[in-house]
């Protein structure tokens, strides 16, 4: 098991720059997600690591060996494609055997490896089926078994769950995580689904415009987004932009503070707060304390979603606010009600503009 390192990778398609000097290391045995919108360069980065695309500049290392000039077929990778790309003219068993045969593993050893891989993905007894006789989820498992049976140096997953329906996808996420832990493979996972990235990863790298804009553990990235893009792409965020006053900013007559420091060298600043960190406070508890922020706002709309409701509110200066509330008790405030919002200063994040 080895780690993967990319150093100073840039990629041009004609005059278009799709990757802009990306440097990153992927820990041995770790599960890293490359998360970003389409066009962010995440798939290109994955294909460069796989060897399907050559970088214009930069180097790729698997452990100590530089694989930059090596073609795909010598890199010893395992790849799962969005479409699974199972060979339709071969049985499940022959699909899984393919990579072993290419590595000269045959006979009893190969049969044992195939059995082990199919057991790992819970597909025992499917050896002789054709891919088209399997459901989407089963095809997905075959693709995974085929990718890991050769014990590759790195497992690359290109949005492997996006073709599955929601329920199946959630089941496969748990499976995928288990299989990855059991096999101990260094795994790089491309996705545009933030929830998937949060659930699966040891580490997330957020890509935008060909650059990694932030990387870290899921909680880290979610709780401490370092810029506006990271904050909005991963989950919902309220932004407050207002004039800087006494260590905070002023919104509709209220002072919003943070446990961090608000830049004092300029007249306005932006603070961010996640919708689920805010709560509705009983009116009258207006006196501020040094740990929390308070703000009066008017309920504009209520979006009911069973377990939770999303309240859309307006602050007195017009700032739009989103609040996620658990539907624990009965009726909440109605549309048009003025309510008091409160949240911790520790959850209030400074966003550099």
């Amino acid at each position: 098991m080895v780690g993967v390192e990319v150093v100073g990778i840039s990629k041009f398609y004609g005059p278009t720059l799709v990757l802009d000097d990306v440097t990153a290391s992927f820990a041995a045995g770790g599960f890293t997600s490359l998360l970003g919108p389409s066009g962010s360069g995440k798939t290109t980065l994955l294909r460069i690591i796989a060897g399907f695309v050559e970088p214009s500049i930069g180097r790729i290392r698997f452990g100590d060996s530089d694989v930059t000039g090596e073609p795909v077929w010598r890199r010893n990778i395992g790849m799962v494609f969005q479409s699974y790309a199972l060979f339709p003219h071969m049985s499940v068993r022959d699909n899984v055997l393919f990579g072993l045969h290419r590595r000269g593993v045959r006979g009893e050893t190969a049969r044992r490896e195939v059995r082990r891989a199919l057991e790992l993905v819970h597909l025992e007894g499917f050896d002789h089926r054709r891919p088209k006789e399997l459901s989407g989820g089963q095809q997905q498992r075959v693709a995974l078994a085929r990718a890991i049976v050769t014990r590759p140096r790195v497992l690359l997953l290109d949005e492997p769950l996006s073709a599955l329906d929601r329920r199946l996808r959630q089941g496969m996420q748990i499976e995928l995580r288990r299989i990855q832990r059991d096999s101990g493979l260094t795994t790089i996972f491309v996705t545009h689904d933030q929830e998937e990235a949060l659930t699966l990863s040891d580490e997330i790298a957020i890509l935008d415009g060909g650059r990694i804009v932030q990387r870290g553990a899921p909680t880290d990235i979610y709780e401490r987004p370092r810029n506006r893009f990271a904050a909005t792409f991963l989950g919902d965020t309220n932004f407050f932009t207002g004039p800087v006053r006494r260590g905070g900013i002023e919104i509709g007559g209220f002072l919003i503070c943070t446990s961090g420091s608000v830049p004092t060298d300029r007249s306005t600043a932006t603070l961010a707060i996640r919708p689920e960190k805010m709560r509705l406070e009983a009116p009258g508890s207006l006196e501020a304390d040094e740990h929390s922020n308070r703000l009066v706002a008017t309920v504009r709309e209520i979006v009911y979603a069973g377990a939770t409701s999303t309240l859309l509110l307006n602050a007195d200066d017009g700032t739009s606010i989103k609040l996620l509330s658990q539907n624990r008790e009965g009726a909440g405030p109605g549309v048009g009600t003025r309510v008091l919002l409160a949240w911790s200063r520790g959850d209030t994040i400074v966003i550099p503009d």
Binding site: A85, F87, R102, P131, A147
Partner: protein, 259 residues
């Protein structure tokens, strides 16, 4: 409305098949003057069996058609794969240039070939006909195999390479087996194009060495005998079989390439 549609369709089918049906019936009628009622007989098939000119021409036709199928399919497949899988300068122009030969009237193609073969010293004869037929068949082969390749996902090749296949191995292990139905269909198409070819063959035939369509044409000019009906019926049977086989295979190719 539906009934009207069905009646219309029926009329079209009758229009298509009536002349052929008459020909087949007359091939089994003893009277050379197409007299009715029909007297069932295999006399014209007997006459055919001893007509060496017609049989030689048939043999020539089959030989040329077979060689055309093999050569045109080999060349056309490679062209189709190059067009579908490799990016190179002038690709779209080359792809476009493959189409006009289908639309150019055979009379013009035939004339051009005759002039060209005369000028280059290739001359006339079976070899010239073979070259001509191959040239006529290649565009069809490229189209049929190109369509087959489109239904074949490129990521299958990539998957094979990810598992350790060189591009060459991926081609033989993955692309070729999956493309087989298209390749067979293309070969049948090329065979049919050659077998059916009259104009170009007529231009490139040497006196005494001809193909069946050319031979049929000259015998009709000499005086029509029902043995033409007999040989035509045999050919009709064979071509119908080929077309059905083609339809079956091209359909199969589409269904298999989907997943």
């Amino acid at each position: 409305m539906a009934q009207l549609g069905r009646a219309w369709l029926l009329a079209v089918v009758v229009f298509l098949y009536l002349p052929i049906a008459v020909m087949i019936v007359m091939a089994f009628n003893a009277s050379p003057l197409y007299a009715l009622p029909i007297q069932p007989s295999l006399i014209w098939f007997d006459t055919l069996a001893s007509d060496t000119e017609l049989l030689d021409a048939t043999r020539n036709s089959l030989i040329i058609a077979m060689f055309t199928a093999v050569i045109a399919t080999a060349l056309g497949s490679l062209a189709a794969i190059a067009l579908a899988r490799h990016a190179f300068r002038g690709r779209s122009l080359l792809r476009l240039l493959l189409l006009p030969p289908i639309a150019i009237p055979w009379l013009i193609t035939g004339t051009a070939m005759l002039v060209f073969f005369f000028w280059t010293g290739i001359g006339r004869g079976l070899h010239a006909m073979l070259i001509g037929h191959v040239a006529l068949a290649i565009p069809y082969v490229v189209i049929v195999i190109g369509t087959g390749l489109e239904t074949l996902r490129a990521d299958l090749d990539e998957a094979a390479m990810g598992l350790g296949s060189t591009p060459l191995h991926a081609f033989f292990a993955i692309t070729l087996p999956l493309l087989a139905p298209s390749i067979i269909a293309a070969a049948l198409f090329a065979f049919a194009v050659s077998l059916d070819q009259f104009v170009v063959s007529y231009f490139l035939a040497e006196p005494g060495v001809t193909t069946l369509p050319v031979e049929i044409y000259s015998s009709i000019r000499k005086g029509f005998t029902p043995e033409i009906n007999a040989i035509s019926t045999i050919f009709l049977g064979v071509s119908t079989l080929l077309v059905l086989l083609f339809a079956r295979l091209s359909n199969l190719g589409g269904a298999r390439g989907r997943r």
